[in-house]
């Protein structure tokens, strides 16, 4: 089922939890709503579920406006962070509760519950109570319960946040695979950008109730539209430096006290067309910085901190008043206090207008 949100608003008193949200989710697509806590992503999800009524705007499932439909009329399945199982019911009763309310025949109910439970690998646990299950098992029961009514849309509200890291990784894959197999439209709320990147076909990044950007994971990573998205997506996060954007006879330059680099002409032209101001914020991801010998380097910096990550070392450098973090192949040979030359990948440099926080490389 296709989902369309049009100028959707949700206000709680004076708080605009969701502000003028437009979003289109294709049939069978897996979309992540990503943002820090309080950004309006869960509110959006609950509006999709029919728990909250929008203050204004429209929600369409396919072409039908569903604003006024009750949750039970929407044919959705939802999985919660807290699992939200019914503690006084057995696993079987939990899974079949939606079917019981639909007055499905007892035989069919059993069959479908068993199928959903087997799919989630909890077929053996149907007699147990939620309290007798581990967190991972509980989450599987919750998934089975959401799937058993064969919903047109699956909603996830941070379903993996309460699991330990290893289990989270595994469930991530399972949910993604399951969604692909069933071809069901899924909306997944998370504050974990890695989860969003790995699972979703498109990510909607929200902040303060406003949609920041909407696009494929790689698109958001390689070409972030706003300063917020650039900083939010990617770990370790992007470095930001205040620089001056200068056009000279021979090209476009970024200059600060300690550094001066020339950016590719076509990017400079684009930035100029976009009205990049003199003062801009330059962004560069840690993996786009390399440690080089003196003649090739863009600038010199002092090693301040080395954090081994296993495959790579995250090195923090200081130059002038600024700090910059780079990923170096492990083991990083340098010592703390040593001065080293760094080179930036000019193709991967981002520019942001400090006033509007919009990327100066944004295609219009």
């Amino acid at each position: 089922m296709k989902i369309t949100l049009e100028a959707l608003n949700k206000h709680f008193g004076k708080v605009k939890a969701v502000n003028n949200l437009d979003l289109e989710i294709g049939d069978g697509e897996f979309v992540a709503l990503l943002g820090p806590s309080g950004c309006g992503k869960t509110t959006t999800l609950l509006m999709l579920a029919g728990i909250y009524k929008p203050t204004s705007g429209h929600i369409r499932f396919d072409d039908r406006v569903v604003n006024r439909l009750l949750p039970k009329e929407r044919n959705i399945g939802m999985v919660f962070q807290s699992y939200a199982l019914y503690p006084h019911m057995s696993t079987f009763d939990n899974i079949t509760y939606p079917l019981k309310l639909k007055k499905v025949r007892r035989g069919e109910m059993k069959e479908r519950a068993q199928k959903a439970a087997d799919m989630m690998g909890i077929g053996e646990l149907l007699d147990r109570r939620p309290a007798q299950l581990s967190g991972g098992q509980q989450q599987r029961v919750a998934l089975a319960r959401a799937l058993v009514k064969e919903p047109a849309i699956l909603l996830f509200d941070e379903p993996l946040s309460n699991l330990d890291a290893k289990l989270r990784l595994r469930m991530r894959g399972e949910i993604k695979r399951l969604q692909e197999d069933l071809g069901v439209t899924a909306v997944y709320v998370t504050h974990d950008q890695v989860e969003a990147m790995t699972m979703a076909s498109r990510i909607a990044v929200m902040n303060y109730g406003v949609l920041q950007t909407y696009g494929a994971p790689n698109q958001l990573y390689d070409h972030p539209d706003t300063l917020f998205v650039a900083g939010f997506i990617g770990a370790p996060p992007m470095n930001f430096l205040e620089t001056r954007f200068e056009e000279r006879d021979d090209g476009f330059y970024l200059r600060s006290q300690a550094l001066e680099i020339r950016i590719p002409d076509e990017r400079g032209v684009l930035a100029k067309q976009n009205g990049a101001p003199q003062q801009v914020i330059m962004g560069i991801r840690p993996e786009d910085i390399t440690i080089v010998a003196e003649p090739e380097g863009d600038f010199r910096a002092e090693v301040y901190l080395i954090e081994p990550l296993g495959r790579e070392d995250l090195v923090t450098f200081k130059f002038g008043d600024e700090e910059i973090r780079a990923l170096a192949p492990a083991p990083f040979g340098g010592r703390i206090g040593e001065t080293i030359f760094l080179k930036l990948d000019k193709e991967k440099v981002h520019l942001f207008n400090p006033e509007t926080e919009v990327s100066s490389f944004k295609e219009r």
Binding site: P71, Y97, L101, K102
Partner: protein, 296 residues
């Protein structure tokens, strides 16, 4: 150091035993007295069952009601009150915990103030209210078993008791509902349940301890009530008397009080309470121990 540490529990026990012993002695005296013709302290000067004769023979002449009718009355008041208090508290507690409506906060603070109100101050206005209800046909005084809801009826007494118990019940229930996660309720709504069904099938089973505790509290309050039944029924040993009032009728102003009989009736009234406590201690502790997050 270690000596001190060893002494500490001894002191704690001593501290608990001394006051408990005083109360236990009282009960022991009650027991001995009820089976004696006369006592000297805790020593019986002659055993007898005569004090318990009210069990098989109405003590105020053959026309006066038997203790069993009075016990039934007491039970009706206590049970009726319990059912009403639990039903109303659990529904309004849910609404106050879960729904947003105008005047919600005002209502919550008003009920709290009501709870703190001494009931004595309201006796006279309530008297007029009950007299007014008495004027309504059937409801006022024409219902079998409980009489009705007017003045000098069991229903009327229960009604007033319910009113006094409700603020407490509503707050307790609200606290228990507050503890239930929103997600569980949302999940049930999405699964296809109506709001009322969610309340009945999902929420209520999860606050059973709260309901149990409130039931016990209400029942005991009804069973032991004295002031309200005494005020709103006439004739202390009449047909619509309850145990506490009946007990009082043994202490006549014109005749010599038979204290041994008073002890026996008092003990009789106590028996169900003790049994109740034995079985419900855990649930009772729950009402103060947990589930009461409260807050507006």
């Amino acid at each position: 150091m270690t000596v001190r540490r060893k002494l500490r529990p001894i002191f704690a026990y001593l501290f608990l035993i001394v006051p408990s012993a005083l109360i236990l002695l009282g009960f022991l005296w009650l027991l001995v007295t009820s089976f004696s013709t006369k006592t000297e302290g805790l020593r019986s000067l002659g055993w007898t069952l005569r004090n318990w004769s009210f069990l098989w023979k109405p003590p105020f002449g053959p026309m006066s009601p038997s203790i069993w009718l009075i016990t039934l009355n007491t039970f009706l008041v206590a049970a009726g009150m319990t059912v009403l208090v639990v039903l109303i508290s659990s529904m309004s507690g849910y609404a106050l915990s879960r729904m947003k409506f105008a005047g919600r906060k005002g209502f919550l603070s008003a009920t709290l103030i009501l709870h703190a109100f001494p009931s004595v101050t309201l006796l006279i206005p309530i008297y007029f209210v009950l007299r007014w209800i008495s004027g309504i046909p059937i409801v006022g005084g024409g219902i079998p078993l409980i009489g009705g809801f007017g003045f000098n009826t069991l229903g009327g007494v229960a009604l007033v008791m319910v009113a006094f118990q409700l603020p407490f019940g509503v707050w307790i229930m609200k606290g228990f509902f507050d503890e239930i996660s929103w997600d569980m309720e949302r999940s049930a709504l999405i699964d296809g349940a109506s709001r009322f069904r969610v309340w009945r099938q999902i929420i209520i089973p999860n606050i059973k301890p709260g309901i149990a505790a409130l039931s016990i509290f209400s029942f005991l309050a009804g069973w032991n009530a004295y002031l309200i039944p005494f005020t709103f029924t006439i004739r202390r040993s009449g047909k619509i008397s309850v145990l506490s009032v009946y007990l009082q009728s043994f202490m006549g102003e014109t005749t010599i009080t038979n204290w041994n009989a008073v002890a026996a009736v008092g003990l009789f009234q106590l028996i169900p309470v003790v049994i109740f406590f034995l079985f419900s201690q855990k649930a009772l502790l729950n009402i103060y121990g947990g589930g009461k997050k409260g807050g507006v």
